[in-house]
Assembly symmetry: D2
Homo-oligomer: 339 residues x 4
């Protein structure tokens, strides 16, 4: 098999960028052409890459749009704000997958409220929300994909089937998430210093996290239901992984078999969403994978349900899902490079 | 100052027992007379204790009721079930503080449902629930104190003021907690092996944890309100500490000043409950202390509130609170040994 | 490609067993036939395996020699002592790879001193020591392979080239190692409880660890040099990985170029040993791989050298190396399933 | 008891500064007058301090020498280089304790080689090396104390008795240390980001760490012996604590009783050095204390010894030892505030 599909990564020196490189290196159809990074431009790859002969010569380059001329797919793994500045300069003949969040909200005032900066404008309307399990056919014909947020992915996947099937009330939902520290990005920051994070927990952006409108919009778009929920993210001392625990009220008395039926109906043909009627999800089962595992408990005699989901924030929550989207958009097997 | 108050610890080789010894060793009025342990009986103290001259001679002893004759206070730091077997054999002239949970529920069927063993019977009705901030005067005149559970303490303290003052709806509350591993006790168990716990998160006993009836009863007793809530505990990879995040609906539009007023009214005279109108609690601020820190966010335009609390599960969640209770019952300064 | 090579794992429920299953599942020539476990026999696979459809039906079975009839290769991932009891009952037409340590020492008194149990006898003389980089041709024609110990692998690989080339003194070597907790095996043990291991470090078996004779014998066999060294292992709070730091005296004034030349000569054709003339090894670069990374510093004006090596104790230190050995013995590509 | 001794901390916002504040707050003779910090000047105290009423009003101030007028003792907890710039401007009527390292080496070329900046000059000759167990009487009459380095403390304390008593060879010593991340200081740095440090180990400054000349000089000054050794520090994923493992050759056949006798002779009157003839030290036994625990194994039939020591790098390795020095210089009980 020849590797005929040429790809480039902009923002290659961050954690999502490094994970993209790791996945694409074992992808049977892809050759990584360019690795672009800002402050790391001109530097060799570090970490495990410097020990590996085939990467020994590689360097991060300064990005210029013209360098992408022969790339068939481009991944943008930049922080929010930086991506929006680059995207307009890119040719849209190529497949472009943006991991930044800059294309996730079409409403400019919503973006400005939650992201605290100017909206990317009309471009956002052209981007397809890259959640394959609920949007596969649109992704297949798209050239501009907005890759979902990590918390958003972990919340939408367990909620959407039950909402779509009318099993739970769309209001009064409570979403609590715990994230590993790599979710905050690869950067020098006192609050991410090991000593500040280890052996402690801290909630943050309570009630105003930027994934709140993304979850709300995606749930409405996937299920037709307007929802209201409280979302509280927490930083916990692990490197990778998100645990999301959701409490919702039953629309009418729930029984576990109906929940299982709903999850099965929506996900049994999906490679990357696994659900279990009795086991409780654990982050370690999905770390370094593109899986989302979903478990549940029907409690209070059928009046309430607790849904639990886990993903790797750099896998299904970022780079893994981005490659899954590329596979769909390019007609490769959906799991190529990811299994 | 002479140390004239003699105390003993039953179950001294566990984590709560060791923490009791640590606190009581610096208590200006107490002398630790006996350290009783089951499987460790006959062994010397381990860990830091074996390096410290004044403990070098000490051994755990096999427990017999007669050995407590000259102890003025006795702490039971045994697992549930074991405590219930011992308590009836003890003289109740002494102050007895039970950390096991066996005396926390007066309703035998409730106990049997949640603890999965036989109830300790009528004895439980004589025990005072040792949550000083809501029960101080009863504790002061009690000889049998049931020390609260760790999760329960972390949930009741933030909720009780707002419930008592009618600021939040008593129904539809969602309580999510994350606990360090020492909360599971000092024992050999595969699921507590470092490799099984590190770099992962796992919810457990979703909807059926034994602290559920304890929280419900204590809230009703403290505030007169019957509540309904969902409680989900999670095990996270830290040694000590609990983080509890609670979502509740406002009774009528909430403003942050009213929440602050309520917390201030109930807790400003309490040494060990600290609250903050803007800072978010962090576990590391309370580890190795007897403090409970409470923070909050009023969100959704005043319709919802998120309360966050942190304690050290071995401090305010076990040994610290037990000593606080002893201090109250014995007329010592409430913070003696704890500040 | 059809998977025509049938393999079985005895001791499949431990950490090395689970890692073997993970590697063999992606091996293009192997089908895993039987998973044998003692106390877990009759149980379904847990952890990530229970979430994965293709493993959903699998169970651990009780081991009986007859069940191996159609297995072409058998991995024994049992604790020392248990393996020795089983090996004599096995047919030696099959390729047998023992990870236990029971076949590593041919001298019975040495085994009894360091392992504290009876030696497996003459069988040990038939076993080939499975360190491919120094023993590849013997492995290729062997049917009984003794897989090296994790610490031993991490110490032998950096030392052997410099000893073989006469660059360092064979006496006065000091080897300090730090190991993650999975190295102690998957078991319930108080000293492996998260709370006992987290946020601390502890040396153990100082000067009498069972890998001492293994290192000494393997170095002599590989290089013809009798060595003397002190070996001190430490337990540190990480899940996987070994860091080994070795100090040795130069035979004559060393310069870094000679060290690089020696490492290059011995390892540049090896896929799984990587060395670097300036970068310092880090455990995270080799976790979940079969690599051993080696770095060094020549200090004190050429009189001393510090060698540093890292492996994943479950990868190159156990399951990875075992599969590498099978690949060599079966004529597969050496890196199959491992890259 | 009135608190009549006024102290100030320069560099109060770092980890050592915060630990000084914590210790001095419970010191029965000290009042903390000023907390000086560079970039944090004008800010309120953070972390646990913001939750505690008595600290609620406190702020870090910009440092000016005149502000120290009424401080009887001044602690400098600044990074190397910054301290040297401030010290000459201070009045030396006050007791000054410098934790930075800038006064530890009297030889300017040695300082410049290992610290990479200009030496503080003649001032360094006036400073007393504040290792109480070997320098108590000089400390008692000093007004300028250079507080030892953390690694240095952990290496000197176990080695000095055996060297002084001629039990070990002064040459060929190997010192391996592992340090928690707080030892690198409170700062924003990519290499200290949780994700970069967690689940890995890395040696650094192999053979050229700035504590090498400090250890050599202090050992010579304490024991009269010139030594040669290799020192390799490692960063490990814990917050606090240092583990140091030392290998040395016996001067003549060693037996454990002689080692115990030597340690006992030198340390049995010292409060803060604990030794044990059989137990192996563990970091967790000394975290949040001012203790140094020392253990040992005589191996290879008496030809070699392995010494192991543990300290809290912020306790006996920094703030704790600094307060111990102040206690000695001011005539307080040596353990005041530290037990």
């Amino acid at each position: 098999m020849t590797k005929t599909h040429t790809v480039s990564i902009i923002g290659a020196s961050g954690y999502a960028g490094a994970e993209l490189l790791r996945i694409l290196s074992r992808h049977r159809h892809c050759t990584v052409r360019g690795l672009y990074a800002g402050s790391s431009a001109g530097q060799s790859l570090t970490g495990a890459y410097q020990w590996q002969k085939e990467y020994a010569g590689l360097q991060y380059e300064e990005f210029e749009p013209s360098k992408l001329a022969d790339s068939e797919a481009v991944f943008l793994a930049l922080p929010p704000g930086e991506a929006a500045q680059i995207i307009p300069s890119l040719s849209h003949d190529q497949l472009l997958i943006d991991l930044s969040g800059d294309l996730r909200l079409t409403d400019s005032s919503e973006y400005e409220t939650y992201y605290g900066r100017q909206h990317a404008g009309a471009l956002t309307s052209k981007a397809i929300y890259g959640l394959p399990e609920w949007n596969r056919s649109s992704i297949g014909s798209s050239r501009l994909i907005s890759n979902p947020g990590c918390y958003a992915t972990s919340a939408i996947l367990p909620l959407a089937p039950l909402l779509a099937d009318g099993l739970i009330e769309p209001d009064g939902i409570v979403i609590n998430s715990m994230s590993g520290v790599s979710g905050a990005g690869r950067k020098a920051a006192l609050e991410l210093n090991f000593t500040e994070v280890n052996e402690t927990v801290k909630a943050y952006r309570v009630g105003d996290h930027q994934h709140i409108p993304e979850i709300r919009n995606a749930l409405e778009s996937a299920t037709g239901k307007k929802t209201s929920f409280v979302f509280v993210p927490h930083l916990i001392p692990i490197t990778r992984g998100i645990y999301t625990t959701i409490t919702a009220s039953a629309a009418s008395m729930l029984d576990p078999a109906k929940v299982a039926e709903s999850l099965g109906k929506h996900y049994d043909d999906d490679v990357f969403v696994r659900w279990h009627a009795s086991a409780v999800p654990e982050i370690r089962n999905v770390v370094h994978t593109n899986f989302c595992d979903i478990g549940f408990r029907v409690i209070d005699g059928g009046k309430k349900i607790v849904l639990m989901s886990v993903i790797d924030n750099l896998g299904k929550g970022a780079a893994g899902q981005a490659v899954q989207n590329m596979n769909i958009a390019c007609g490769f097997e959906e799991g190529e490079g990811l299994l």
